[in-house]
């Protein structure tokens, strides 16, 4: 292809802070001089449903939807929601998954079962797989609510963008009151 586009998918459960993570990533990519498109569905998904955000960047991006089997990186905020979106990832793509299980209602009601051994299943199909202890690292950064920024930090290692773009964007988008813990969370993720 003469117009290479890189595709990042972020998935999880409504309320996990996926929107902020994808906003930060899009801003960083724009700052670094790329064309960027980002897409997600609002509405019903806010009520604890499955949420997925598509981010595409390159010299020129057309569709904001990532075609099946073409995502280069999948960042999952929850294990089942990471597993669910694997068909969108290309062979050899990178997978980052937060080591967290949130049971959906059919599981809490005892009607369906939560798939077992998700990390092992992902690792078997995608050698470039990293399991992130998001909650633990967020607590280390000083606030359990910075999990999404820990995960953005982990993602930042898979995207060739200068560190200063990330720092500058976080300073712009995170309220001053929470900046220090979020920068710490980002750096902990980036070290993975």
């Amino acid at each position: 292809m003469s117009n290479p586009v890189t595709n990042v998918l972020i998935s999880g459960v409504g309320g996990q802070g996926i929107l902020l993570a994808s906003e930060v990533l899009s801003e960083v990519l724009m700052l670094a001089g790329h064309d960027v498109k980002k897409n997600e569905i609002h509405g019903m998904s806010q009520r604890g449903g499955s949420v997925v955000s598509h981010i595409r960047y390159g010299e020129k991006v057309y569709s904001s939807i990532i075609p099946e089997g073409e995502a280069d990186v999948l960042l999952g905020f929850e294990l089942l929601e990471t597993y669910r979106y694997l068909p969108l990832v290309r062979q050899g793509g990178s997978i980052l998954a937060n080591n967290l299980r949130i049971f959906p209602s059919p599981v809490t009601l005892g009607k369906e079962t939560y798939p077992e051994n998700i990390p092992a299943k992902i690792a078997a199909a995608f050698p470039d797989f990293t399991l992130v202890e998001g909650l633990k690292l967020a607590a280390e950064a000083g606030n359990e609510r910075t999990v999404n920024i820990v995960l953005v930090g982990a993602l930042s290692k898979r995207i060739a963008i200068d560190d200063h773009c990330w720092q500058q964007t976080l300073r712009k988008m995170v309220p001053a009151k929470y900046l220090e813990e979020n920068l710490k969370a980002f750096n902990l993720g980036r070290q993975l």
């Binding site: 724009m30 509405g43 057309y62 075609p67 089997g69």
Partner: protein
């Protein structure tokens, strides 16, 4: 020039600001809601939530008659509500520019149908712009307002969910300079649509469309883009479908339409003549295709691409049989779904639990509470459109025998009741129907992300406002039996419903408790509850309330037990009230 990464909705709000819009009105509806929410940052715009889309458009028409530029926004089905003033507005034309944003929802991400509102442009004889990204959403908003004044017509701006909610890079401009002053002007031949006047306006509407069609052939928003191929394939497309066409068919030449009605026929004829193969790539109805076929031009469209659902690069590729199913990974097991559900502590939960237990036939409506349909609450039997629950219940009660009639309960939220439920209740009383109406009053328009409404006490701009007195309103309509309950009280809720359902005349129950997510007056969260493993018998009755905080944990030896996730529980105590064994209490 300053650049920003904006959603289509943010870009429309920005475009309206740059174009000098004075008044913006809307009723919230996915995927249009954020347009008005983003207007609030521009103090030069008077932005407001109307009780429904018809009122929103009427406010817009008034502002336009006074000479102000105006934007009115709604979701696709909202245009049905606003259609009455709309069709006559097309005859009167405007004074200040007026743009109506219709945000369509192909794929029904958050809607009850996926009607293609491009048909309204043809039906109402109005021009329609359709942007393909956020930059165009901004530019076309400005253009639509200018076009409105240039041709003395209201103008549609049509988006779809993937345009409304996608973000892309936009170059911002300064607001336009001085616009004409506003003021009163008597012009009955234009604005008083009695038959005599309207008869004289109609030919002007037809002539306007003809002029616009010729004009549109020479405008840069309808453009031909060369592809990388040898010029054998041509594509006619617009909106988000353009992006998929470019992605999947880089070799094709594309006629990219910015104005989807009226079509630039001379331009299309000229373009079509150059290609062996000509495709029309469009979502939903064959709107462009049928008009091109009617011109006697052979094109391939809906024979290849689906009529239902949205397009994606994959679906376009599949239609062209280029490449489909490129997935490297496929699951070898079925995954549990993750359907949305009512939040922990949601005041609607207890009501639907009671309706389920009373085996009510629930005539439902549109809002968060439509989730009362989902298992395990499973207590909604109909849902048609905004405000339909009450009229539907009246109709049901007219055909049913008394013992069945008593089971019918209309369930409607506060915002939906004020939208189009009031007339239904007026009819129910006036025509002596007998049914129970349950108004779920959570003091907010919750489903679309918590917008203010006439019963919340605040405006979109955050000003204090009069709060509609629901009880007095119902009594004024002639309802003799109006009672208010707290839906957190399980037994009282059940009893109130049972009593009113037994009454063979109209009664209204108002279940009043604010939405858990309202930020202005934070609801006091109580300490999380927990299950005493010793006392829990594993009867699973607490699972029947469908609270996301309650999990079932099976056990190898015993019957298993319920468990409460302390991170989600807000201590509403519904589960504690339904437990027969006193196994749920405050955490230690």
């Amino acid at each position: 020039m300053e650049r920003a990464i904006l959603s289509g909705n943010e870009a429309i709000a920005r475009g309206a600001y740059e174009a000098g819009v004075k008044v913006a009105s809307a009723y919230p509806g996915t995927p249009s809601t954020e347009i008005l929410e983003n207007m609030v940052q521009y103090p030069s715009i008077d932005a407001s939530w109307a009780p429904n889309e018809k009122v929103a458009l009427e406010v817009g028409i008034g502002a336009s008659m006074g000479g102000g530029r105006t934007l009115v926004a709604m979701k696709h089905v909202g245009v049905n509500v606003a259609a009455d003033p709309l069709f006559t507005l097309s005859y009167t034309g405007v004074k200040g520019g007026l743009v109506l944003v219709t945000a369509d929802d192909p794929e029904l991400h958050s809607s009850q149908n996926e009607q293609d509102n491009r048909n309204y442009a043809k039906f109402a004889k109005m021009p329609m712009f359709e942007p393909a990204d956020s930059q165009e959403a901004l530019i076309f908003t400005r253009l639509a307002l200018e076009t409105s004044e240039l041709f003395d017509t209201p103008v549609f701006l049509r988006t779809t969910t993937r345009i409304s909610h996608s973000k892309s890079i936009v170059t911002l401009q300064d607001p336009v300079g001085k616009l004409p002053e506003t003021g009163l002007e008597r012009n009955p031949a234009k604005f008083v649509m009695l038959p005599g006047n309207a008869r004289r306006r109609h030919p002007l509407v037809e002539e306007r469309l003809t002029r616009m069609e010729e004009w549109a052939c020479r405008q840069p928003f309808n453009r031909v883009e060369k592809g990388t191929g040898d010029g054998r394939i041509g594509v006619i497309t617009a909106g988000v479908s353009y992006q998929y066409a470019r992605e999947v068919l880089p070799e094709a030449d594309i006629l990219k339409l910015g104005l989807v009605y009226p079509l630039p026929k001379a331009l299309i004829r000229d373009f079509a003549a150059r290609y062996q193969t000509l495709y029309v790539i469009e979502e939903l109805d064959p709107f462009i295709e049928e008009q091109v076929l009617a011109m006697g031009i052979q094109v391939k469209g809906k024979a290849l691409f689906p009529l239902c659902g949205e397009l994606t690069p994959g679906r376009v590729a599949q239609g062209l049989s280029n490449q489909a199913g490129k997935a490297y990974y496929k699951h070898d097991e079925t995954l549990p779904g993750r359907p949305p559900s009512m939040c922990p502590g949601c005041p609607h939960r207890g009501v639907f639990y009671a309706l389920n237990r009373l085996k009510a036939f629930v005539s439902g409506d549109i809002g968060c509470y439509t989730l009362g349909f989902m298992e395990p609450l499973s207590a909604m039997d109909t849902c048609i459109c905004m405000g339909a629950s009450i009229g539907n219940a009246t109709g049901l009660s007219k055909v049913l025998a008394p013992q069945e009639r008593s089971r019918v309960v209309a369930v409607i939220g506060d915002s939906t009741f004020l939208h189009t439920g009031i007339n239904g209740l007026m009819d129910m009383v006036y025509n002596n129907a007998a049914s129970t109406v349950l108004i779920l009053d959570n003091r907010i328009t919750a489903m679309t992300g918590r917008q203010e409404n006439p019963s919340s006490g605040y405006t979109l701009m955050g000003a204090d406002s009069y709060r509609v007195d629901m009880e007095e309103l119902c009594r004024a309509l002639g309802v003799h039996h109006v009672r208010v309950i707290d839906p957190y009280q399980v037994t009282a809720t059940h009893k109130a419903l049972e009593e009113e359902m037994a009454r063979d005349e109209v009664s209204v129950i108002i279940a009043r408790r604010p939405c858990m997510l309202v930020k202005r007056d934070p609801v006091a969260r109580k300490p999380a509850l927990s299950v005493d493993g010793e006392e829990c018998t594993g009867c699973r009755v607490c699972l029947k309330i469908g609270c996301p905080a309650i999990e079932w944990r099976s056990s190898d030896q015993g019957k298993g037990s319920a468990h409460i996730n302390r991170l989600y529980c807000v201590g509403c105590s519904l589960c504690r009230q339904v437990c027969h064994f006193d196994a749920i209490g405050e955490s230690q």
